[in-house]
Symmetry: C2
Subunit: 360 residues, 2 copies
Amino acid sequence: MTDTIKKIKETAQNIFSKIKKKQKAEISAPVRSLNNVIYNPKDGYFELKGKLKKRTLTANTVKTFAQTLRFMALSKNLVETDDIATKREAYYVSKNWGEARFKEQAESDAVMDDIEAMFGTNREQLGFIADEHGGSVAGELIVIDKDPNTGKELKIDCTKFGSGSYSIPSDVENLKFETKAKFVLAIETNGMFERLNKHSYWKSSSCILVSMGGVPTRACRRFIRRLSDDANIPVFVFTDGDPYGFLNIYRTLKVGSGNAAHINEFFCVPKARFIGITPQDIIDYKLPTHPLKEVDIKRVKDGFKNDPFIHEHKLWQKALKDILKMGKRAEQQALAKHGLNFVVSNYLPEKLKDEKSWLE
Amino acid sequence: MTDTIKKIKETAQNIFSKIKKKQKAEISAPVRSLNNVIYNPKDGYFELKGKLKKRTLTANTVKTFAQTLRFMALSKNLVETDDIATKREAYYVSKNWGEARFKEQAESDAVMDDIEAMFGTNREQLGFIADEHGGSVAGELIVIDKDPNTGKELKIDCTKFGSGSYSIPSDVENLKFETKAKFVLAIETNGMFERLNKHSYWKSSSCILVSMGGVPTRACRRFIRRLSDDANIPVFVFTDGDPYGFLNIYRTLKVGSGNAAHINEFFCVPKARFIGITPQDIIDYKLPTHPLKEVDIKRVKDGFKNDPFIHEHKLWQKALKDILKMGKRAEQQALAKHGLNFVVSNYLPEKLKDEKSWLE
């Protein structure tokens, strides 16, 4: 965390000395948009190209300039006192900044994104958290945290939650891990997570179960990333067989998203492999299906046009073409047609064994 | 759980013997709609009046009749094997029932609601769970569950999760509790929950923090209800100061909802008191506000027309009239205007001390 403080201080001192010398003070941050993004499969995430957006202190920019500096001061204070603030709270804090206060949260969010990009770090390291649930965890993992009261180390054993589970906090930067698990299984729905937890699937297969509850939140993505790096184990992703599962959930977890390219480096999970329902599974397992929705079809077509991830991955191209041709989708719960625990006894073991069935 | 099995067997045997005697078999369940509901503040929830819907086995009803019996059989199996199924999974299981299979999940959901009402129990006791996150818990509470593997008792200490927390499972019927806490604090947003957890507010005020994440799920409501009964402690509810916080979150937690009247008995929390942002707080604490939205205004007006809860509670009538008059709403995060931890140092202690500020 001292790294963050150091960066903030350097930037502030630089501005201060320029102003004292009556030179034009400047701050610069990478342009955050799809046309400033490249995808390199080796690095494993959407990466920013070099384009910078400079903001020079003038009469026109003085308000945004002041807001940026105020936000930097707030961040410094948060990190120094080991506190946190949601984006919403940070917006309200600004209500005491006189003329520099934000009128809408959209303005303060944009400045926060700029600061994030400026320091080449993620918001959580600046003390800002998202106001969303970070996902649930059960299985062969000990999370090492500290008691906020005493500062003492705490070991949280995720095999000891019974039918419940460990709820991931918004800020996971300082967590450490101990595990002998062979892999992480990231699951789309909470219902499927509870089934696998109820049947101690994590024990029989020696893994760590994570419930994403739809598109994974920042905390959930960062948690899985840090865990897979630390333990050096693969991450298998188990979603519905539909474009939402393929592109919104899996692709976001694996490489990040286009409009947040400045932070994908921290949030992507290069070790992720897809073992969710594929078009081939729909045939092989004779799954009950639903017709594709308009929005599903549009998602795939847009993907072929714009998504560098799809352009790089031939197997995904085939899967997406197949699902368009079939015109059908199937949910992970559809496996229940063969019995509620077919997923435990057949589907997951078969998919995990058959490396050729994985999609990258 | 044997209670459930007993009820299922009795109903089934009754039908079986009628059919054998060539009499007309019948099943009956309470009518589930607002016009079959009364609100008795003493009982504390929307209650069903006596109206029954009977279904007699005829050529016309044979399919629904069969589906109901099939569902009862599935439930019996779930309870006997200590398994669970989401509504979605149950729907897919029916795909193997030949002519009795459901075409849409809406059909299977309706039959499940009927069975719930028929047996005067909640779905979870029949082995059916919701596919949703049940909320997070931190503080002075030990949850007693069992290891799904060994069946051994597990004690889950909610003071030992650091910045993380305990994630409530979908089925909380068999959990037990140990606590010396003075109250439960149920919080609208996850961000506020994390703030209070980060500052160990549960320690300084001897309480149990629950993050509802918006309108509480069934599991979250049932968890709070069972906990407040077991420990015999009050529940304070801390939401935004807007009609959504008042009526959708607080009212649902406290007395239940109109269209699920057959289960409110299990899900209402009579011990709940509102200590969230009131119209008076907006004035007293000089909070930053936003204008009421169309949907806020409609919600209040509809409430005055139809909601027996509002008709019973004079103080709520005043609060709702006040907020309409002001035309403004304020979020719980708005307290951050006075400093990020004003909520810990001032707001919560002041509200908890001043019993007159509570709304029932």
